[in-house]
Amino acid sequence: MKMGIAVRLGLALAIVGVLAAGLTGYYGYAESRAMLVAAAEERLLTSTRVLVRQLAVGLENTARDVRLIAGHPQAVRLLRRDDPALQAGSEKNAALLFQRMLETHPEYFQMRLIDAADHGVERIRVDRDADEVVRVEEGELQEKGHYPYVFETLRLPPGAVFISRAGINHEVGAHAGQDKPSLQVAAPVRETPDGPALGLVVINVDLNGLFAQLAADLPAGQQLYLANGDGDFLIHPDPYQAFAFDRGQLARVQDQFPAAEPLLAEGAAASGQLVTTSRPAGQEAVVAAFMRQHFTTLHSEDDFILGLSQPLAAVVEQSERLGAATLRIVLGFSALAVLLAFLLARALTRPLNQIVEAVRGFVPGAAGQRLPSRRRDEIGVLARTIEDMQQQIRAQFDSLEDKQRALDRLASHDSLTGLPNRRLFLDRLDQALAHARRNNGQLALLFIDLDNFKTINDSLGHAAGDAVLCAAAVRLQQLVRASDTVARLGGDEFIILLDGADDPEAIAQIAGKALDALAQPVMHMGEALLSGGSIGVSRYPYDATGATELIAVADKAMYRAKSGGRQRACFADLA
């Protein structure tokens, strides 16, 4: 397809318009979406910080409980076994205290006083069971010296509290806490601040309970993640991912959220935070914030990494609405751009088309189509130039036509008398005959020859002869109707075609009048020249039917009139 300038120009303008609208819309949308995501990330990070604070507060409360009991003189007395008589009573009192603690703290699984001697044997142990708190009997107490919460705690400085790694408690006989996610919070018992650790007080915290508290206040749609310092999940929306390391599997933050890697890198800052948008395998894309927390005031064996995620779809929901609105605006402006492009293209190409039409339809004689010559721009200049050119062409054409008309007249008229010449007469006769044949009409020819013409011409000169011829022509013309034709055949011969003449009387009357008119003297140079004429009449269809025959018959009749004594008219059929 060949594209006109209008189509190309319109297309170019439309593309520019649509592009401008589209790009503006797209970047506006992208920018606002990024802002929404950034705002959501900031909110998530803030929520994460709040949760980390809650976790810290929870652990610090437990640490306070542990420290309180570890610092109680009763604990030292129990471990020193000072007074065997009072030992049983003291143990009973301590066990009761532990029981009260467990009853008021549903998140505690177990509370123990462990001896540094005898391989870390438990001295007092109170466990939570299915629906009650039980004190573990003497024979069931176990040696725990090889557990980190014992050997690490015994090495702690005075006043310090140990927090173990989060893990599944596989210690046999731990009642409700067995095989459950838990964490030990422990403090050494010392007689004097500088003295050796005699033992320790340890509380097993129910991590599920602690985490449930953390997750309780989360807005709908937000998911909680908790991982240890290696990135192993402790809490995960999918329960199979939590504590996977305990089953010999790997489910780690850095694998599901690669952007969290810096929090786990070798030598990573003890505390750090980051926010990421990623797509965990097999899930919707989420915005997630993670924070690594090291509990500086406590001797925590490990750090925690706490995270919150929110589906990206929920975050960008607003921006989707904005996107839809932007799309509508873009489409609207694009349509407007296309319309404007169309109008502009038309405004430019219409005068051009007008010029093309005017040039194409230019006929010299006719009034041309109007040109946009009143415009004041380049198109106006073009139009005016074309208009000037048209006028020149028209003027030249007019003069050419005048010359043509003069030539035509010369070819068909007698130059002396101005009467039609033989050629034109024969044309008219043919037409009249053709007409008469069609309509069963009639016509008559009067063949006239001037008398004395040769005498006048020879004696008085050509000028006198010409005067006689001119006078005869004028007089004969005055005799006939406009529809009749008077022609000069040559020399002193004239002929009159009476179209439609059928009445011989009327014809004779006209012939008579012609004879009278020719008989009148012609004044030339003060002399009256006397001429006169003889007339032969032929009639169609009576005398002949062809033009040549009809003239010949009239000619013959004229000769009869001449030889019959001139100044008379003879009818051919009367011969």
């Binding site: 397809m1 594209m3 391989h119 044997v121 069931e140 046999v172 290696d230 010999g248």
Partner: protein, 359 residues
């Protein structure tokens, strides 16, 4: 606008057709053309697979497993017909043989076996590899890589390297010993220290002796570890003297990388060791190709990479921490894995012997 840009170009079509034809003929070098391999991470690296494909003309479909359980699930899922060749340890191999999921391997068809160390060539010396069927002894797997569970010791705390696992019980190192917290191996270790005939077959009164021995161990150690990183952390943090290296050279390398001056010994009672072998499934499509694969893996490239990249030992050369005189005790199926775990759970939790042995 013009549509002149669109024209039919015959050249790519020809190339494609030629490629397809070539592919068809290339696939004919071996009848089946595809070898389906089940291996562990690091056993068959990219270049090993590529070079095998180049030499054999076959295509390798490699699947990686990361646990005994997933290996069992994959192989047993379709009666062993989904894979041709797999890597499995000698203890695990037994259930595959018992259920008929693997078929005998012919060492004579694997030239590479002649370059293996003597202890890996004598297949009937390795428990569980050779079974007698209808009066004929047949090998079911070819050894590929192994790891010993020796002792790691701090050179600065030992004037002379320990020679016996009884050092783990030595009160001089009390609180400076690390042991592995797994039931099956702990009982085997206790049995070895007791001089029991087979550490994997405890009988009668040996159980009570082993329990006592493990309680003694519990009282002598600093703690028990389960993961290699954990063991390294504890070893360094508490300046441990001695460690039962359940993960073998991997732990040795990690400790050395962390700057520890540590040594590795195979105790005279013998070091427990797992041994991974290549076995051919019952449903293998092309047994000759599977043999060719095993031969290729016994080549210098593949076996060399085991040492260089994975820190494992291969069957061609002695490892830098061992020698031909080393006494290696290949792991075998234990008499009662569940009982070992149950008793160990109690021991680890701190129970006394009477409660451990209670029903």
């Amino acid at each position: 606008m013009s549509l002149g840009g669109f024209s039919f170009r015959p050249v790519p079509a020809l190339v494609l057709a030629a490629g397809i034809l070539f592919g068809l003929f290339a696939g004919c070098v071996h009848a089946s053309g595809v070898l389906r391999v089940l291996a562990w991470p690091g056993y068959a690296d990219e270049e090993v697979v590529r070079s095998f494909e180049r030499v054999s003309g076959a295509r390798v479909e490699l699947s990686i497993v990361d646990s005994d359980e997933s290996l069992w699930q994959k192989v047993s899922a379709n009666g062993g017909r989904d894979f041709d060749v797999m890597a499995v340890n000698t203890a695990e191999l037994q259930r595959y043989i018992a259920t008929g999921l693997v078929q005998p391997v012919d060492p004579a068809r694997i030239a590479g076996t002649r370059r293996q160390l003597p202890r890996f060539r004598q297949l009937n010396e390795i428990p569980g590899l050779v079974h007698v069927r209808k009066g004929r002894a047949e090998a079911y797997a070819i050894p590929y890589t192994y790891s010993t569970m020796g002792l790691i010791y701090d050179r600065r705390q030992f004037a002379a390297a320990p020679t016996s696992i009884s050092s783990l019980w030595d009160p001089r190192y009390r609180g400076r010993v690390l042991a592995y917290g797994g039931g099956a191996h702990s009982f085997s270790l206790a049995a070895q220290s007791l001089g029991v005939a087979s550490p994997f077959r405890l009988q009668g009164g040996e159980w009570a002796q082993a329990v006592d021995r493990l309680i003694e161990l519990r009282r002598n150690v600093l703690g028990f570890y389960t993961r290699p990183e954990e063991s390294v952390r504890l070893f360094l943090r508490h300046r441990s003297a001695l460690m039962f290296a359940n993960y073998g050279l991997q732990q040795l390398h990690m400790l050395r990388a962390a700057g520890a001056d540590v040594g590795y010994v195979i105790p005279r009672e013998g070091a427990l060791a797992w041994l991974d072998c290549w076995a051919i499934t019952r449903g293998a499509r092309d047994v000759a190709l599977a043999h060719a694969w095993i031969d290729h893996l016994l080549g210098d490239t593949a076996s060399g990479l085991l040492v260089r990249r994975q820190g494992l030992a291969n069957t061609l050369v002695e490892s830098d921490a061992g020698g031909p005189a080393d006494h290696i005790v290949w792991l075998a199926e234990v008499e009662d894995a569940a009982r070992r775990e149950r008793l160990w759970g109690r021991i680890h939790s701190g129970d006394r012997a009477t409660r451990v042995l209670a029903p």
